[in-house]
Symmetry: C2
């Protein structure tokens, strides 16, 4: 396995650096270099997953997320806002995370309007600091919060907006999908989907999501995270469609009603009768 | 900026290693180490984005993607299938990519059923090797292919299946969303959404998506990639709802009809009349 080979070559190299330190006693400049390198000699070896975390600042995440949107849009913006703060505080291994690799998430994945890109960047940042089983819980909580949050709330300093100055109308998407989030906001505000105002909205959402993600990470890593999100309407549908139930023909937590508009959540008996051709 | 500080510290350290090499002439063991390290001295510095790419094997991606699903599900499986092959061939910087960080994508993001996790892992792997503007094109093409592909096609060797032996029924999701992809398959095959057969299906989808992604990457990096996907039904809707059009109230490329079931794509005049309360 070339990974193993690579690893052992690095261990060899590392021991070489230490050997050089021994050889170089008497050369005070070089001695200083080795003394600095020794405790961190692992820099050349891949860091252990998950990466370390220290408490970070949600307010700074807003500013950095917003700025990141200006560079490579929402998914990169959110990812860089979180990884960037960890890089600043911890250094390696975060210095070796090329945050540009999440830029694909913009416009909900290459223009498709699927999962909001800010969430794609945020979720990946979360997973850097914890195992999948924990990341799943935080990501789920973040998506739930996103569905219910009246975006956007962040406001850049006056005169410093990326695309559009001043207050923007808000809306609650009810969905973690870019396509739905944008469409609901356009309906609520009368703004156009490709306008500068809409792009500004997404920049501010990037700020809001980055800050919430840092809050969740701070809570988790200080053992104060508790999953709170619930969607009772989805739970109702899953009474028949979910795991271990009579139909068990779907998965997920997105609001059912938003797409299944032919089902009245207040009259599920009608839905069942229609589905089974039992209407009078 | 601590990143800059960190970088310059490493340049300093690197020059120290070379200085040590000069000091150590005469020590043949150490000299060998330095000779090996010198051309690759940048290992301790963050690699430049995008990372290098060499032609890889789609068939191996299937096997690795399938195995990866067994470890940490679809998103990790697809990501590891691609990054792992690059790590094996190129070594650094792919040795420093902790592929576990994409595991959150399983079940379409922390259990939500949004973007299929295999696509999340694949898209991130794509973006490691190219800038956003190119990654967007490949990701879009991959999602389009996913919508139209009769999953699953990969078959593990007899007796070696992860969850369910033998052939599985196929379906065309018409969507890049996990929730839709699973539901359509359950409807088509009569299988349960939480069954071992469904999990096996997702493992095989991971294999199929990983292989397609390697094909797209091979094509792009040999200058043979050409975007082909089109969805004319979406284009029809975007004649009013899309960029620069009268409504311009949405974004995205997901099939409209799959959720907007109240619209007959063969009778858009009826849809327009209904929307404007112009029905007789």
């Amino acid at each position: 396995m070339s990974q193993e080979k690579d690893l052992s070559r690095r261990k060899f190299l590392k021991s070489g650096i230490l050997a050089a330190g021994a050889l170089a006693v008497g050369s005070s400049i070089f001695h200083t270099q080795v003394a600095e390198a020794a405790p961190e000699g692992g820099h050349c070896e891949p860091a252990k997953f998950p990466y370390p975390y220290v408490q970070r600042d949600p307010e700074k995440a807003k500013v950095d997320g917003y700025a990141g949107y200006g560079k490579l849009k929402c998914s990169y913006g959110c990812f860089e806002a979180i990884i960037g703060q960890l890089r600043e505080k911890i250094g390696y291994p975060y210095t070796h995370v090329p945050t540009e690799v999440l830029a694909w998430g913009g416009t909900g994945a290459g223009g498709w309007g699927t999962l909001c890109g800010a969430l794609i960047g945020a979720a990946t940042a979360i997973n850097y600091t914890m195992e999948k089983k924990d990341a799943d819980k935080l990501v789920s909580e973040l998506l739930g919060w996103y569905c219910d949050f009246p975006f956007p709330q962040y406001e850049p300093p006056a005169g410093k907006a990326l695309e559009y100055e001043g207050k923007l109308g808000t809306s609650v998407a009810g969905s973690p999908l870019c396509h739905v989030s944008v469409s609901v906001w356009c309906d609520a505000t009368g703004m156009k989907a490709e306008s500068k105002a809409r792009s500004e909205r997404c920049a501010r959402i990037t700020a809001d999501v980055a800050a919430k993600t840092v809050e969740l990470l701070n809570a988790f890593h200080s053992k104060n995270f508790k999953a709170e999100y619930k969607n009772e309407a989805v739970d109702d549908c899953m009474q028949c469609h979910g795991k271990g139930r009579s139909l068990e023909n779907t998965r997920g937590m997105m609001d059912c009603q938003q797409c299944h508009t032919d089902v009245d959540p207040n009259d599920l008996v009608d839905h069942i009768k229609r589905s089974w051709n039992m209407l009078d």
